[in-house]
């Protein structure tokens, strides 16, 4: 619609303001607010976390203590976040891919419409309601049907040790898997739908079955987009807060280290919910919590940049070429 950005034109526009130039650069100011928000967030978090980062240095990332006397270390919460997100990805990605393949390539039209609407509704359910359901329903299922049998047979293994209330890393990871399936499934489906039909026809032409078409043409063609969708799901799992807060138990310090699937723990997001609003202004604890916020910011930013690049390349560039 408009050409490349031309600085000279911009200055001329500022010198001789017209209603059109005003409108154009006025709306640019609003659009630029996104950039301002991200930069401001980074500045605010770095500034707030500064006392803790200078006092503890690298040991802020490797320490396990969490009290004013012995110092603050974020390692248990970083590991807790990674473990729950990993469980979510390992369970969520295969199921999401199954749904995406089913919806994009195999299901009859009626089923396709119904199932994709249900998947969209799953994405619309608020996080806190997943949390409530996780606390009163899923936790009991995990305790009775997963934890009890496994601990009965393999309870002597350290990674299966722990309490029997169901408030643990596994419940949190399972809940996260349920919550990220709609994201990964619908983006992967879009990526698969955007595969050109010539790819499918080539495979059908040499006598492939429908599954072989999916495997040879669709999956290999959309690999990087699906990878991007999985990473977007990972980003969701890492940032997800309230649902996890209600089922993970919320312990602090060295006992929050993820040593067993069935022990209570804490993630970066949940310790913020549990402690930030009560942290005293100016205290080292507040700075340490903001430091955790900063780490979360950095991880989420990196993950989303990579994911957007992967998905964007597949969906938008191809979409643009088709238009």
């Amino acid at each position: 619609m408009s050409g490349r950005l031309n600085l000279q034109k911009l200055f001329e526009g500022l010198k001789h303001p017209s209603s059109d130039g005003f409108f154009r650069y006025g709306s640019l100011v609003f659009a630029g607010s996104v950039v301002a928000i991200i930069v401001l967030s980074l500045v605010v978090l770095v500034q707030g976390a500064f006392p803790a980062l200078t006092k503890f240095g690298v040991s802020f990332l490797t320490g396990t203590n969490w009290d004013a006397a012995t110092g603050f270390g974020a390692l248990p919460y970083i590991l807790g976040t990674l473990l729950t997100a990993l469980i979510a990805i390992m369970i969520g990605v295969p199921i999401s891919l199954g749904i995406a393949i089913f919806l994009a390539e195999m299901a009859p039209d009626v089923i396709r419409v119904v199932v994709s609407n249900i998947v969209e509704l799953l994405a619309a359910v608020p996080s806190i309601i997943y949390g409530l359901w996780g606390l009163y329903v899923l936790r009991i299922w995990v305790a009775n049907y997963v934890q009890a049998p496994i601990q009965g047979s393999f309870g002597f293994l350290p990674i299966f040790g722990g309490t029997s209330y169901g408030l643990n890393f596994l419940t949190a990871g399972l809940l996260l898997a349920i919550m990220i399936i709609p994201t990964i499934a619908s983006i992967s489906r879009e990526v698969m739908v955007s595969v050109p039909n010539s790819q499918r026809e080539a495979a059908y032409g040499v006598g492939a079955t429908r599954w072989e078409v999916v495997r040879m043409s669709v999956l290999s063609y959309s690999r990087s987009g699906i990878f991007g969708a999985a990473i977007l799901g990972l980003g969701r799992a890492i940032g997800e807060t309230m649902a996890v807060t209600l089922v993970i138990g919320g312990v602090t310090g060295a006992s929050a280290l993820p040593t067993s699937l069935f022990r209570p723990g804490q993630t970066m997001a949940t310790i913020l919910v549990n402690q930030l609003s009560e942290a005293e202004s100016g205290s080292l604890q507040l700075a340490a919590l903001l430091g955790i916020g900063l780490v979360l910011f950095a991880i989420a930013f990196a993950i989303n940049v990579v994911a957007q690049l992967l998905v964007w390349r597949v969906l938008k560039v191809q979409g643009g070429a088709v238009e």
Partner: protein, 282 residues
Amino acid sequence: MSNYSLRRFKDRLALWLGALCAVLAMIPLISILYEVVKNGASTINVDFLTAAPGVIGQPGGGIGPAIQGTLILVGFTIIIGVPLGVLSGIYLSEFGDNPIGRVIRFLNDVLAEFPSVVIGVVIFTLIVLTLRSFSVVAGALALSIIMLPVVTRSTEESLKLVPNSIRDASMALGIRRWRTTLSVVLATAKSGIVTGILLAIARVAGESAPLVFTILGSQYFFSGLNSATDALPLRIYRLALLPYPYAQAQGWGAALVLILMVLVVNVGVRLATRGRLYSTRS
């Protein structure tokens, strides 16, 4: 021939595995809806919907302040977030075909997927710590930042569906670019933009993480922009932390109210736009 039947078997197997995945994903939704309705329906009555929470530990009281707080909070969020998002979307669609536009679009997509808890932490540090008070303003700001990228993206996508011939026709009549955009292009894309705004409202109405450090939650009805307030998602969280059976029942009741609000908007929007989105795209 046996090779062919093996391939056919694999094909069938893939179909049924795909269907199984779809069924697996539906179980949680069905269970959530079932549990929320089963446990929440008996709690809901006029008193529960309008009364303030009672003394902690004693049955009675309701979620009146939470419903009121959510409505006020969402109202302010709309006032801040919608104009910002729509104007950003206009820039990206009408003038954003340049490096600056591409950078903004990219960062907008990144912000859309950003953890809401981080946005809450930033507003807490910036507003709550500075003003030394939890407030509706802080909560509405946090929710606006969450709403902004969603509205921006849906506005841009709706505007891009407007054919260029409509823009050309308006310009050919000598109407200026800004007037064309606001009166002709925006009007043509109105339904898509409104759909995006409604879905964004439904999303922020259910947000809870950023509210913990911005409006904090309260036992009382709204008492000014500058003080702690309650909201439905936050009330559900506080109730879930209490060990009493009545709190559990009230939590389910509040969840039923929240899920009705969110799903009615979502299902309504989907029914209203059914078919239209697809026909304009192809």
